[in-house]
Each structure stands twice: as structure tokens, then as C-alpha cells.
């Protein structure tokens, strides 16, 4: 066969094959792509564009105008943005510490006991995560209730502390506890499976060398789960930044004006549950745009620590 003929035939065939590959991929990815486009990508674009308008229930969908960066200016002019930002930072930092430390603790402790008992404890710690948020929230509302109902009062009574309505007097404590207990289970799961992946022989060798349980944890277990720990730190940071559901269901950002309000909750309140009925979508969008940028900045910084490439190895069959 003449060389040019062969080359032409091959190029044609490669083009035909190329199409086939993409058609098959389209079939499989289509529905997912559609949903992602409409419900993820479109909203993101809309959020950013909307933040430059004055869209609210007062203007309706037909009477809005472009107002440039006015929303953003308004945010920084308000007397609360700094408080709310501070709240957010405190919230993320403290709950993150709780989540990771307690998650790690539970994972380690359950691995140092009979497997069945460990399983029971882990299951208990999963309860908050698998419960409906409203039910889990109501449990804490009860615990924080004023006497004679709330459980917390009964616990602190023997220590001579004052009985009170915790949601009002110590809202931060409740916010941290409720988010902590539900968030710790995430780390617990990751760390448990990471510890299980460590070969038995390493522990046997350490025991033969005479290491105590504490030494084993410090010198062998912890170093070997370094990456999962880092992963949980990053993931939970992002997650906490964006979370507000439990705060909404318990303190609702209060008491008073913004005592426990975080940035994401502020955006939610502004745009979707304004007490006075004027839902300010654009203003809220501006707030959430800032939230996204904050999150992006943090994640870029944090993700530098990771190697993402390993998870995306190319498939081994080249046919469509």
C-alpha cells in the first residue's frame, strides 16, 4: 500500500475513532454534566453577576439594576462585618481543633480495645452524622434549655455553677459542642481506616522491641497517618467555613444581633430568611461571593501540601 494512502487512511480512522470516544463519554457523562451545569456552574456565575445588582424581593425579577460594587462597599461599611468575620474565624478554628483532635482520639482509642467494643463506640459517634439535622439540633436545644428542663444544668449543678438558659448565656459553647460532636465522626472514619491500613507487623515488631502503647501511638501510628490528618484538616476547614445549618437551628446567630453569626449564616439570613420579609438576594450574593473567595484563597494555600496527580491515573484501555 502506498505510504501516503496508508497515512491518509490512518488519519481518517483516527478522526472517526476520536468521535466515537467522545460520543460514548458524552452518553455516560451527559446527565451528570447537565445537572452540574444547571445547579452548580450556573449558580456560581449567577452569584457573581448578581452581586453587582440590587436584586431583592423589593425590586422583583424585573425591576433590578446594576449597581456595580455598591453591595461590597455596603458590606464593609456595615458595623457588623468585622464581628461576623471574627466569629467565623473563631468558629472554624475552635471547631476544627475539636473535630480533628477528638476524631483522632476516638479513632486511636477504639483501636486499642476489643474490636466489637470499638465498633460500638464508633457507631455511637456516627449517630449525630446520620441523624436528621433538625432532630440532632433539637437534642442540643433541649440540653441547653433553661431549668427545669435542660440537661446541662443538671450536670453543672453539683459543681455549684449557676443554672441558666444556655442558648442565651453561652451560645458559643453550644455552637461549638453541636458542630464538634457531629464533625468529629468524619475524622474518626478516615483515621480509623488509615490506622487499619498499617501492616500488623509494624506493631508486632514494636511490641517485641518493648514499646508501650503510648509510644507506639506517638512513634508509629501518628507519623504513618500524616497524610490523612492533613487531608482532614483541609477538608474540614473548607467544610466549616461553609456550614451554618446547626447554628441556624439552635442560636440562629443570636442572641441579639450577630453574637454567633458566621459569614455564611449572614449571607443566608440576608438573602433567604430575612425577618422583615425583604429578601435581599444580591446583597446576600455579594456576601457569599466574598465567602467563596476566602475559601478559594485558603484552599489554594492548603492544597499545595497535597499531590493530586496520583488520584487521576489515566485508564488503560484506549478503545472507545
Amino acid at each position: 500500500m502506498a505510504r501516503t494512502e496508508a497515512v491518509a487512511l490512518r488519519r481518517e480512522a483516527t478522526a472517526a475513532a476520536w468521535w466515537r470516544i467522545n460520543a460514548t463519554a458524552l452518553l455516560f457523562m451527559g446527565p451528570a454534566l447537565l445537572l452540574v451545569l444547571v445547579f452548580f456552574l450556573a449558580p456560581v456565575v449567577i452569584t457573581f453577576t448578581m452581586s453587582l445588582t440590587d436584586l431583592a424581593t423589593s425590586t422583583g425579577l424585573s425591576n433590578w439594576q446594576w449597581i456595580g460594587l455598591e453591595n461590597f462597599a455596603r458590606i464593609f461599611r456595615s458595623q457588623f462585618w468585622l464581628t461576623i468575620l471574627g466569629n467565623t474565624v473563631v468558629y472554624v478554628a475552635v471547631v476544627l481543633a475539636f473535630n480533628v483532635l477528638v476524631g483522632l482520639g476516638v479513632a486511636l482509642l477504639t483501636m486499642h480495645m476489643e474490636p466489637k467494643a470499638g465498633g460500638v463506640f464508633r457507631a455511637l459517634w456516627l449517630l449525630p452524622r446520620i441523624s436528621p439535622s433538625v432532630v440532632y439540633a433539637l437534642l442540643w436545644v433541649w440540653a441547653a434549655a433553661s431549668p427545669p428542663f435542660g440537661m446541662l444544668n443538671y450536670i453543672v449543678a453539683p459543681f455549684g455553677l449557676e443554672q441558666r438558659f444556655w442558648l442565651q448565656s453561652d451560645p458559643w459553647l453550644i455552637v461549638i459542642l453541636i458542630n464538634g460532636f457531629v464533625g468529629a465522626s468524619f475524622g474518626m472514619l478516615i483515621f480509623t481506616s488509615a490506622i487499619k491500613a498499617i501492616p500488623e507487623d509494624l506493631f508486632r515488631a514494636a511490641r517485641v522491641d518493648g514499646a508501650s502503647a503510648l509510644q507506639i501511638v506517638r512513634r508509629i501510628t501518628l507519623p504513618l497517618i500524616k497524610w490523612p490528618i492533613l487531608f482532614v484538616l483541609v477538608y474540614q476547614t473548607m467544610s466549616l467555613f461553609a456550614s451554618y445549618e446547626y447554628i441556624y437551628l439552635t442560636t440562629n446567630g443570636g442572641p441579639g444581633l450577630f453574637a454567633t453569626e458566621t459569614w455564611s449564616l449572614w449571607a443566608f439570613h440576608t438573602a433567604l430568611s430575612n425577618y422583615y420579609g425583604n429578601l435581599e438576594f444580591a446583597y446576600g450574593a455579594a456576601m457569599s461571593a466574598i465567602l467563596v473567595l476566602m475559601g478559594l484563597a485558603i484552599s489554594i494555600v492548603l492544597l499545595r501540601v497535597f499531590r493530586f496527580g496520583q488520584l487521576v491515573a489515566e485508564p488503560r484501555v484506549e478503545v472507545e
Binding site: M1, R10, V319
Partner: protein, 358 residues
């Protein structure tokens, strides 16, 4: 039904690395060809290109008179047996074998069942049709894989290391089975192996590959008797060929190879001048006799009795050579024996290129 297979200038690159480099191969209709070589030599890559799972970087593959290198595997008319057998664990044996037929909706159920039973009987798994793969032994699994490959009456049969997962005795048995089956059906077959014994015993012709390039392509007998280069000579035959670095010189009207104190008379004239050469001789062609007889005197290093024969390592002039002796041959470590190089069986290779020169 069986077709000729031709590979022309077949190349496969992964990034910068050439797994297969400009391979040219032609297989006759009904022939049983082995692709033989060490791991990484490109034999499996070649097979997967013939199957259509890999797309060649360049080159052509022809089945009969059809160019197929751009065709989907299902349009090529091939049956394939994988090293792991790749039986679908959630289906019974019957369902596994029937699968290729089910995919062609043109075949009615009655006909399908008949062909499944036919294929199963061919490889003698007809009693196992209701079992699941997990309940079968390795040998049985392989036969089911064969049945599945053959049920759609393909033009070409491909086998990837068909015997490596079997234990030694089963391997021996399946070797014969597969060869007989191929001859009975007459289907053009290509199989990949790293075991030279498998290749020699089963194939009509063997293609030896190394680092993506073809080293030799000939019948087992030719490969054994006249290997084209040192690599092939060393790879084929067990125990492997002995090699000695030597100089070729003229003497008394003919040639000799001198390796240190050893002087080996040559009957064939070297193809060209090669002051630096390598002499090759197979253990079975190294004759041991009484001390003083033969071409040289050697000292026994070790004796390994194998029942049917003995492997005797000897030291001569600083070289250690391996010879095969009959069971009756008496020798102990340290004994001196006479060594004779069967003159017709001496191979000569160029030391630098490895090419055969006599």
C-alpha cells in the same frame, strides 16, 4: 475461517518509550505462532494491538485482506484468552460462554445453546455448565475461557500467557490440549509467553522479541539449531547454551577458535573476519569422556543427577561449562575428564554485535 495475519512496521510508543519498534511479522492461515521474550520485550503490547485494545502509534495490521488496525475489537473477529482468564464472576460457566453470542442479537436462543454446548464439549467442560468460576480449578477456568473465545467462531485466536497460572503438571497437560485443539480447528493462533519451552513445544513458528524489536522468527527447530544471534541462542534451550569468548584464527587450512588455552577446531568457515568472537555450544553437544580424549582436559566442578540424565559442570582453562552426560557416566567433584566439542554443533557469534557468524 482461518486467515493470514500480517504486521507491518508496527510501532507502539508510550510517551517517549517504544514498547514495540517497527515490528514486521507474517503468520500463515492456520498457523500457531508464539511471541516469546523476557518481560518488557513488547510481546503483550503486540498482542493487545492485534486485539484492538491498544491502538498502534504507526504501522498496519492485516487480517486476510482487511486492514484492521483502526477497528474496534468487536469488529475484528478475534477470540482471546487472558492470563487471568477474565471469567465473569457473577455468571455461570454457560452464561460466560454464551456472552459473546448474546451480544449478537442475530443468533436465536436455541442456536446459542447448541453452540455453547458444542464449545463446552470441545474443551470438555460440558459437565460444569452450571457452576460459577469461583467453583472451578485453574485448569477448568482456562478451558472455559477457551470455550468462550472460540464460541463465536473467530478467525483468529489470541492467548496471553495461557499457561503461567497453572502448576507444573497441569501446564504439561494443557500444553498438549491447546496444541491439539488448535490443529483440530485449524484457527490462526498467536500466543504470548516468556517460557521458551512452552513456545518450542506448542508453536509452528516462534517470534523472539527483545526491547520491542524482533530478534528471530523461525520454526522451533531452526531457532534451536541455528539461532540468529547470541540473545536468541541464550534464550532458547534449557539448560542454556555455554558461551566462551574466543579468537578465530586460521590453522592448517581450516579454522580454530582459541579461548585461552583451549583450542576448538571449527568445521564451518566464519562468515567474516572476527578476531573477537564468542563460541557457543549447547550442553547436550559437549561430550564427556575419559581424561586424555577429546579436545581438552577438564575438571569436574559439580554433578547434578536428574534421573534421565546428569548435568555436569566442568572447569576448563578458567571457564566453567555445563554438559549433559548419560546416567551411566561416573564422575565426582575434582575428577579429570576429557571434553569434546561436537564440531557440527559449534556456534560462532560476533562478540560486539551478537550476530551469528558461523
Amino acid at each position: 475461517m482461518s486467515v493470514r495475519v500480517v504486521l507491518e512496521h508496527l510501532t507502539k510508543k508510550f510517551g517517549e518509550v517504544s514498547a514495540v519498534d517497527d515490528l514486521e511479522l507474517e503468520m500463515h492461515a492456520g498457523e500457531f505462532v508464539a511471541l516469546l521474550g523476557p518481560s518488557g520485550c513488547g510481546k503483550t503490547t503486540t498482542l493487545l494491538m492485534v486485539a484492538g485494545i491498544y491502538r498502534p502509534t504507526s504501522g498496519a495490521i492485516t487480517f486476510g485482506d482487511r486492514r484492521v488496525e483502526h477497528l474496534h475489537p468487536k469488529d475484528r473477529g478475534i477470540g482471546m484468552v487472558f492470563q487471568s482468564y477474565a471469567l465473569y464472576p457473577h455468571m455461570t460457566v454457560a452464561e460466560n460462554i454464551a456472552f459473546p453470542l448474546e451480544l449478537r442479537r442475530s443468533i436465536p436462543k436455541a442456536e446459542r445453546d447448541r453452540r455453547v454446548r458444542e464449545a463446552a464439549a470441545l474443551v470438555r467442560v460440558d459437565a460444569l455448565l452450571d457452576r460459577r468460576p469461583a467453583q472451578l480449578s485453574g485448569g477448568q477456568q482456562q478451558r472455559v475461557a477457551l470455550a468462550r473465545a472460540l464460541v463465536k467462531r473467530p478467525d483468529i485466536l489470541l492467548l496471553d500467557e495461557p499457561l503461567s497460572n497453572l502448576d507444573a503438571r497441569l501446564r504439561h497437560e494443557m500444553r498438549g490440549e491447546i496444541k491439539r485443539l488448535q490443529k483440530e480447528i485449524g484457527i490462526t493462533s498467536i500466543f504470548v509467553t516468556h517460557d521458551q519451552l512452552e513456545a518450542l513445544t506448542m508453536a509452528d513458528r516462534v517470534a523472539v522479541m527483545r526491547d520491542g524489536r524482533l530478534q528471530a522468527y523461525a520454526t522451533p527447530a531452526e531457532l534451536y539449531a541455528r539461532p540468529t544471534n547470541r540473545f536468541v541462542a541464550e534464550f532458547i534451550g534449557s539448560p542454556p547454551m555455554n558461551f566462551l569468548d574466543a579468537e578465530v584464527a586460521a590453522k592448517n587450512g581450516s579454522f580454530v577458535a582459541r579461548a585461552g588455552e583451549l583450542e576448538i577446531p571449527l568445521v564451518r568457515r566464519p562468515a567474516r573476519e572476527a578476531p573477537e568472537a564468542t563460541v557457543g555450544i549447547r550442553p547436550e553437544h559437549l561430550e564427556l569422556g575419559a581424561p586424555g580424549e577429546g579436545d581438552a582436559s577438564a575438571e569436574v566442578y559439580i554433578v547434578e543427577p536428574m534421573g534421565r540424565e546428569q548435568i555436569v559442570d566442568v572447569q576448563v582453562g578458567g571457564h566453567r561449562l555445563r554438559a549433559i552426560a548419560p546416567p551411566g557416566f561416573r564422575a565426582q567433584i575434582g575428577d579429570r575428564v576429557g571434553l569434546r566439542f561436537a564440531p557440527e554443533r559449534i556456534h560462532l557469534f560476533d562478540r560486539a554485535s551478537g550476530e551469528r557468524i558461523a
